[in-house]
Symmetry: C2
Subunit: 153 residues, 2 copies
Amino acid sequence: MEGDCHGGITRKSDSRMLKQYKRNTEVRNSRQLSVLSVEELVEVAGVMGIPEVKPEWVGANLVLSGIPALTLLPPSTRLQFPSGAMIVVDAENHPCRYPADIIARQHPEQKKGFVAAAMHKRGIVGWVEAEGIIRTGDPVTIWIPPQRIYAYA
Amino acid sequence: MEGDCHGGITRKSDSRMLKQYKRNTEVRNSRQLSVLSVEELVEVAGVMGIPEVKPEWVGANLVLSGIPALTLLPPSTRLQFPSGAMIVVDAENHPCRYPADIIARQHPEQKKGFVAAAMHKRGIVGWVEAEGIIRTGDPVTIWIPPQRIYAYA
């Protein structure tokens, strides 16, 4: 997204890929956008025992509603918007300490921390295949690739 | 790959995505490279009843050996080479008419056509996450993402 710190064609590799890359290796950016689910954020807040988890606390670029288990959408799933904008899922996002600390400061009474509560409910990261405007209230079409388990892993 | 007609940051959308895009829409290129398997090419030749299917007949950029069912590697699987070069799987490639016609001309005696024989054995297409030299004989490390079936499709 224009102006967002995660935007751009390439990015520096980070701590999630230390097995693959030396830190700060320049790689093609497959984490341009963070997409979360309204319903999953409500579930996470419930588990944490707090009234809500605001999308801006967890760095959401987009918040969608009505997609069951959005975080579990398979890699290469495509999300299409009426303008033609298309986002491709690279991977499930994992809960990290930064939003956890922000929320813990906002809600010291929390019953459970964000990292544990948000596992598999923290949305996905992806990249822009086709550019376009996305407007509040837009419908989204989901294109899921063929699904099967690779048996030789 | 430098100089290859499928290289580049973006590409024109093609007939495989007519449900998603008007033809020739400029989209981010997730099909920069075509990767095939030695063993799958041997199987395809066997089914076709011809001595071999040469990688150059089917537009291969890379041919790997020793990866079972390479074509079935899941989306977002990463293939890493000793130089640091990393290729990310976007999707299974589907057999198309162009190589089928080339092979049929080479081998008019074929018992079965390439399109039918090569289904799920035609390799994958993907994109370069990290640049680097790939040399004949290089080992390759395969990073497979978490596997699960999305139950709401």
